[in-house]
């Protein structure tokens, strides 16, 4: 008799637990959905988002901030940054060519952290980075040129880079 009792008890508890599961899914049937319709609705990424690397261009001086100190190239774990610079007539080094191969870039952020001259930055607004040709991923200084809006510029009293470059990253 006990066996028969447990048999029916198992069926009934099983049935109840099935109903419990159904109640969860049915509850969600009438709830608001979580989907974001991507191309139409775009989510603003957080300011710290590492989405696209840009070279900061100083519009007033009509030149890039980069002085070709090679720190970024050394910090890069994949050696995807190639740059050259010359010493200008005023005795300061200026970057002449800058190439970043985004097809091998892993967006680790070491180049931006290593940069001591406020020349490289992540831009969180531009995150649609896909291209039709692989060649387009090899970007030069013109493609990476970014006029920084005034409100994003570091305030004069603050140091240019809040975070120190990770020690050892440049070795």
């Amino acid at each position: 008799m006990g066996a028969i009792f447990t048999y029916f008890k198992n069926i009934l508890t099983g049935f109840w637990n099935l109903l419990l599961g159904l109640s969860v899914t049915t509850k969600y049937l009438f709830k608001k959905t979580n989907t974001q319709q991507y191309p139409e609705e775009k989510m603003p990424l957080p300011a710290r988002s590492r989405s696209m690397i840009k070279l900061i261009y100083d519009g007033e001086k009509d030149q890039f901030n980069c002085v070709a100190c090679m720190m970024c190239a050394k910090a890069c774990p994949n050696s995807c940054i190639k740059l050259e610079g010359v010493r200008g007539p005023d005795g300061k080094r200026r970057m002449t060519t800058f190439k970043l191969d985004f097809s091998t870039c892993i967006f680790c952020g070491y180049c931006v952290e290593a940069c001591g001259f406020d020349a490289l930055t992540f831009v969180s607004e531009e995150y649609e980075n896909s291209v039709y040709k692989r060649g387009s991923l090899l970007q030069d200084e013109q493609a990476m040129k970014w006029n920084r809006p005034a409100h994003l510029a570091p305030k004069p009293e603050e140091p240019a880079k809040v975070e120190a470059a990770p020690a050892g990253a440049k070795a």
Binding site: T13, V24, P77, Y110, A167, G168, A171
Partner: protein
Amino acid sequence: MTDLLLSQIKPGGESPFGTDEYVVNMGPQHPATHGVLRLVVKLDGETVKETMPVLGYLHRSIEKICENRTYPQCITYTDRVDYVSAMSVNLAFALATERLMGLEAPPRAQWLRMIFVELQRLASHLLWMGAFAGDIGALTPFLYGLRERERILDLFEMTCGQRLTYNYIRIGGVMIDILPEFIPKCKAFLDYFEPRIVEYEELLTYNPIFLERTKGVGVISAEVGINSGVCGPSLRGSGVSCDVRKQQPYLFYDQVKFTECLQNDGDCWARYRVRMDELRESISIVRQCLERLEPGPIETKLPPILKAPPASEIYSRIESSRGEMGIYLVGDGTAKPYKAKYRCASFSNTFVLDQLTRGWKVADIMAVLGSLDMIVPEVDR
């Protein structure tokens, strides 16, 4: 490998019906094998005679790459070892390097690391829960799990700028301090998340079909588990205490209160219960960490070029989301590791599969594979 199996097949084999055995390749492209794991399965009808995991389809030789990178640069590659639980691997490598060089991160960095690793454990277990339920045939928990996981990733992105490959936990500290709004947001998430666990449990835990599929299936006895090197939640499901956080506390795990989740049955259901309990434990750990977080530096002062002492070696282990994550480092006095070996939980967990599925049905392979929580990139590295 297939030939090896084929050669053992006896036509009109041992079956009382005189049926033939045959070999089925599950994967590398198969809807259930979590990526590119290939299973060569010898079947007699529906009954599994032998399962052989074939690895290497996702091999990227990360260990070799690490020999050619400086220690900080290696951290970027640890993100890719186990991308579902990247923070844990970051932490494992950072801790190993710190121990090799005799460094110590400041307390705030330690607390931050704990917060992020435990949040990562939540994210990883959520994805696991969904994938496991999907393997068994329930597709809805996967979406629920991912929905909550997205909110965790939002917290990560807010702090370190990435959703998958964080590169956040660094040698000697963390990459960047949290934003002031992180703490309220994180608390709000935990409050939102705790009732969700009840929902998952309603959907799965006592569902009779789920019970049928997982109770008594794929039993790892404590002995088998220890002998085959199973670790993490999978071994804790067999009642073996093996939590590195308890046994060899790192960070400040000895200062927070949490219990090691244990189940005694060793079957898929026990492993499921262990992970569901761990979700709750992780929530409580994150809450405690958030309370004890105090202002302070987040990085120690490091030498400009980080060099390991000559002829030094270290094996350092942490409890990642999947189990014991060990890093073996050999330093030769230069800025690059002479040898970096990753001891990954997924790899050791995968090879118990054959013992667990022999004599069971085809569908059980998926249930057992799912319950072991293996991630193919971590297996192949």
